[in-house]
């Protein structure tokens, strides 16, 4: 029995009021601004965002270090990223994001390694700059093929007044212009991962672009050169995207940053167009390249055939007829595949409801893919979105969709309990909570160790995964048969 839009809105209102009652008054007031129902025709989703999390409520958010080391910089494969500070941050984020890459790890690529300065008390008391210098020396000896080093600051660095910029400059000079990038992504900065993305973007601008040697790594430009920005190649996402761009006649000169290299970062200002998938984490550098190098950028969405086709056409519209025809050719080529995927899975998924809570672009970008399979997203929210994300979300969500920004563990649990969606898509911290409740779940950060989900090749996997989550026989076992009758 599905509710009408008006009934849904009334239900959501009641639900929000109910969860707010559990908070102390001051917190209820703060949280109320982050919870709402989307109203058709509004320019955003009626929620406040990018505001400090409330202490003690079990926010799902991470920190600036996670945004810089974990998201933006970490996947650059031929550089060594030092988790600078105590051992934990690097340990917990070690190889956890499945940024696929090709290379010989420990020799010419280093993504799935944990390099840390492992701060001890004496480093806090006397400062860590000397140790950092020594670490860079040791890296140069033991990992001679590294193409650069980044310093990913953990909380103490900014608090004890270390000068990692000075150390980086000194060592760059000592190692003949070797790229060394200090990043001020201490975890206490900002309100979430989001500021870490911004800081990381700025570090590319200041320590890579502004220091580039124009005579290095020359290649012949073509009118069809593009760079993929904001794809972290989780489970190979950037690869199943790149193949489509190349098939339509474009030449991808860089990937940011999944399976990316320092050379590719440096190639990018020569692109004719930057194509941007994760707007949230890499709009900053895209805007900078537009201003400084005149490279226009366009957002795209490679989840599900409808959005892929629209995106291919949108990207092609920036080029000549050859590329436009190429886009049509690609769309036509994959039609048989997507039709077969939909024919197989849509009947099993039609009408199923989904609630999402993810980061970056996904709370909106994946909606089209679900809709291609006949599913409805009835609630969504961003871990660290800004208002421009919620504006963009209005193009995706239906009237009456429940919106929850920086949702707390308590709220999410109550919302799902009441709405009883057929699927929840969120992260590892949420996964087992909902599965215990008997609600099918897919991790939508890591693709639950599956993927890719981008592109046509990824859509088949996405559809198969959603089907196996929802239609698994295990969910019919969660109630003991002798209890069913009651």
């Amino acid at each position: 029995m599905s509710l009408t839009v008006e009934e849904t809105k009334a239900r959501n209102k009641e639900l929000i009021e109910e969860v707010l009652k559990a908070y102390p008054e001051k917190t209820a007031k703060r949280r109320a601004k982050h919870l709402n129902t989307h109203e058709e025709g509004k320019s955003d989703c009626n929620v406040k965002s990018n505001i400090k999390s409330v202490p003690g409520v079990m926010t799902i958010r991470g920190c600036a270090y996670a945004g810089s080391k974990g998201v933006v910089w970490g996947p650059i494969k031929d550089m060594i990223h030092i988790s600078h500070g105590p051992v934990g941050c690097g340990q917990y984020s070690w190889a956890a994001r499945r940024n696929y890459y090709i290379g010989t790890t420990g020799i010419d690529t280093f993504v799935t390694m944990q390099f840390t300065s492992d701060f001890q008390e004496k480093d806090i008391v006397f400062g860590g700059d000397k140790k950092l210098e020594k670490i860079m020396d040791e890296i140069q000896v033991l990992f001679p093929l590294n193409k650069g080093i980044t310093v990913q600051s953990e909380c103490p660095i900014g608090l004890i007044g270390d000068d990692i910029e000075a150390v980086s400059k000194k060592k760059t000079k000592e190692y003949n212009g070797h790229t060394i990038v200090p990043v001020r992504c201490e975890g206490f900065r900002g309100v979430s991962q989001s500021l870490g993305h911004h800081i990381a973007n700025d570090a590319v601008r200041d320590w890579v672009f502004d220091k580039m040697d124009p005579d290095k790594n020359k290649f012949e430009s073509t009118p069809y050169d593009v760079a993929i920005i904001g794809d972290y190649n989780i489970g190979g996402d950037a690869w199943s995207s790149r193949i489509l761009l190349e098939e339509m006649g474009l030449r991808v000169i860089a990937q940011w940053s999944g399976d990316g290299s320092i050379a590719e970062l440096e190639n990018t200002p020569k692109a004719k167009l930057n194509v941007l998938h994760c707007y949230r984490s890499m709009n900053y550098i895209s805007r900078h390249m537009e201003e400084k190098y005149g490279v226009p950028w366009v957002e795209y969405n490679f989840f599900g055939p409808s959005k892929i086709a629209a995106s291919l056409r949108e990207i092609a519209s920036h080029f000549d007829d050859k590329i436009k025809e190429g886009a049509e050719r690609v769309i036509a080529k994959y039609k048989a595949l997507t039709d077969a995927v939909i024919a197989k899975y849509r009947p099993r998924l039609e009408g199923k409801t989904v609630m999402l809570f993810v980061g970056g672009l996904r709370p909106r970008h994946v909606i089209g893919a679900y809709e291609d399979l006949g599913m409805n997203v009835v609630g969504t929210g961003y871990e660290f979105g800004h208002n421009d994300d919620y504006q963009r979300t209005t193009h995706y969500v239906k009237d009456g969709t429940l919106i929850y920004d920086d949702v707390t563990g308590f709220e999410f649990e109550k919302f799902v309990e009441k709405i009883q969606p057929d699927l929840v898509g969120s992260g590892i911290k949420e996964k087992y909570v909902f599965q215990k409740m008997g609600v099918p779940f897919r991790q939508m950060h890591s693709w639950d160790y599956s993927g890719p989900y981008h592109g046509y090749d990824g859509f088949g996997i996405f559809a198969r995964d959603m089907d196996m989550a929802i239609n698994s026989p295990v969910w019919s076992l969660s109630k003991a048969p002798w209890k069913k009758a009651a």
């Binding site: 202490p55 003690g56 900065r189």
Partner: protein, 519 residues
């Protein structure tokens, strides 16, 4: 077109299709400006050399692939082992997201924990307001019986005083005055996750025993016959604690687990999410003061806690993760000595069956060389067990083990003829281990999930017996303690041996004469 609706290709096969292989080659050739293949090969070979090992062991500042985490992780583990207790970490919020993810990836269970979400303003003015608001929110939202506070390095660097902050928060009405908020300072730049376990557990005991931060009278110890058990930081806790409980029950010993997360990380899927399940109750903590003795199963995980308990007049027996036959014998004999109760025939029968299994299989493990790394106590236990099997723990390494620990490992080597060519490596990481596996190869590696990178690089088969284990499921549900646990470990060692032998003999017409049916 690589993908196929009828037979969906996953990433491990999809990207091997020719379209992708060609794409990767072009990307590398045209845009990566990468190091020439010959140079890469040269460096690969060099990293296997003695020369590289010397340089690798000479480093004193850089840590690469360590086998340790930071203090608050241990504190969160501890809080999770107390009934209806919510872990509250004072400091930056990203840390808490990491601890929760880390435990959930290992146990495949939810891990509740809140943060006081300190940001720049708190860095300047201190995190008092975050504590005040945070405790109030946690208390009203999640209704725990107790909030166990620990700290991230941010709060430690700026010098926030938990005792004073909690007191102020109570005065401001965040939680009732008499509400239990035990705390522990857990700086990430001191020790490791086992230090955090120690500090957090000590914080809870001290809170209840020593007058609740000067708000209640100190408890008087009235000795009884009960025994306390402290397991230490343990990735197999879900399997191990029920096994130890079974042993206590079999021996008829009244007992208390001080920190028992074995239910909290083992809840059913039956339609209800239990945020809190099982764990040591506050009353049990209070009563534990009166116990006759406390067994600390992992000495290095509870050194300060052991001292606190001893200072309260109890006998404390600190063990080093005893496992295998002699290890379990030692544990049982200590229990018997302390309680005066005999070791029942039932356990003796289990022991006999374990020895029987070892006798059946020992020939396959005799003289096999093992490299192992992990927490200090676990390394001691495993070393002892391997020696007892006639195997050689050739390289025993611990990132958070110190010289005192190394001396204990050396003593085990010295006591066995199989320890003659074995060496212990305190304060080393997995990149050191990589060198060792090349220059002095072994037959098997025992470690955590990250050991799979060593397996890939050096071809040494990995046996997963160390936290965290992310890439195999449910190991943590099985005990590795007691005679039953030793049986499990024995089977794991044997499985890997047989798998390796089969893999080494599987080529038809070439090596498969040794691909035997009976082994």
């Amino acid at each position: 077109m690589p993908q196929n609706a009828e037979n969906i290709l996953d990433h491990e096969n999809l990207f091997r299709q020719p379209e992708y292989v060609e794409m990767f080659e072009n990307k590398k050739k045209n845009f990566e400006f990468s190091v020439p293949v010959d140079k890469v090969k040269e460096i690969i070979e060099w990293t296997k050399s003695k020369d590289y090992q010397e340089k690798n062991f000479a480093r004193d500042s850089l840590t690469v692939n360590p086998a340790k985490a930071c203090q608050p992780l241990g504190a969160v583990f501890v809080a999770n082992g107390f009934a209806r207790t919510l872990s509250f970490v004072h400091g930056s919020q990203g840390c808490v997201a990491y601890y929760r993810s880390h435990f959930s990836r290992h146990f495949k269970e939810p891990t509740s924990c809140v943060s006081s979400s300190m940001t720049e303003d708190a860095a300047v003015f201190g995190g008092l307001n975050n504590m005040i608001d945070g405790l109030a929110n946690t208390h009203s939202l999640y209704k725990p019986d107790m909030i166990a506070v620990s700290t991230t390095c941010m709060a430690e660097v700026i010098g926030d005083d938990l005792n004073a902050f909690i007191k102020t928060a109570k005065e401001k009405g965040s939680v009732p005055m008499e509400y239990d908020v035990p705390f522990a300072h857990t700086p990430a730049f001191v020790g490791s996750h086992i230090t955090g376990y120690d500090n957090a557990l000590m914080g809870i005991l001290r809170h209840f025993w020593d007058g609740k931060a000067d708000t209640a009278p100190k408890l008087e110890r009235v000795p009884n016959e009960s025994i306390n058990f402290i397991g230490g930081f343990d990735g197999f806790v879900v399997g191990n604690i029920p096994e130890i409980r079974r042993i206590f029950k079999t021996m008829g010993i009244e007992h208390t687990f001080l920190c028992d997360p074995s239910d909290n990380w083992n809840t059913p899927t039956d339609g209800t999410y239990r945020m809190y399940d099982g764990g040591t109750t506050k009353q049990q903590v209070i009563d534990a003061l009166n116990a006759k003795a406390t067994i600390v199963f992992q000495q290095f995980s509870a050194e300060k806690t052991a001292k606190l308990i001893a200072d309260h007049g109890q006998e404390v027996v600190s063990l080093n993760h005893p496992m295998g036959v002699a290890g379990t014998d030692q544990f049982l004999m200590e229990l018997s000595r302390i309680t005066g109760k005999p070791i029942p025939a039932e356990l003796e029968l289990e022991r006999g069956r374990l020895v029987d299994a070892i006798a059946d299989s020992q020939a396959h493990l005799h003289g096999k060389k093992y490299a192992l790394y992990g927490d200090p106590d676990l390394m001691l236990g495993l070393t002892q067990f391997l020696l007892e099997l006639g195997a050689e723990p050739t390289h025993v390494l611990s990132t958070n083990g110190d010289d005192k620990w190394a001396a204990k490992v050396q003593a085990l080597f010295d006591a066995s003829p199989f320890g003659k060519n074995c060496k212990v490596y305190p304060k080393r990481d997995l990149w050191h281990m990589r060198s060792l596996l090349f220059t002095e190869p072994v037959d098997f590696l025992i470690g955590n999930t990250y050991g799979k990178y060593l397996e890939r690089d050096t071809g040494t088969p990995l046996i997963r017996l160390v936290f965290p284990i992310f890439d195999r499921h449910h190991y943590h549900r099985m005990p590795i303690w007691g005679y039953e646990g030793a049986m499990r470990v024995l089977v794991m060692l044997l499985d890997e041996f047989f798998e390796a032998l089969d893999a080494n003999t599987i080529i038809p017409g070439k090596t498969d004469y040794s691909y035997d049916i009976i082994r």
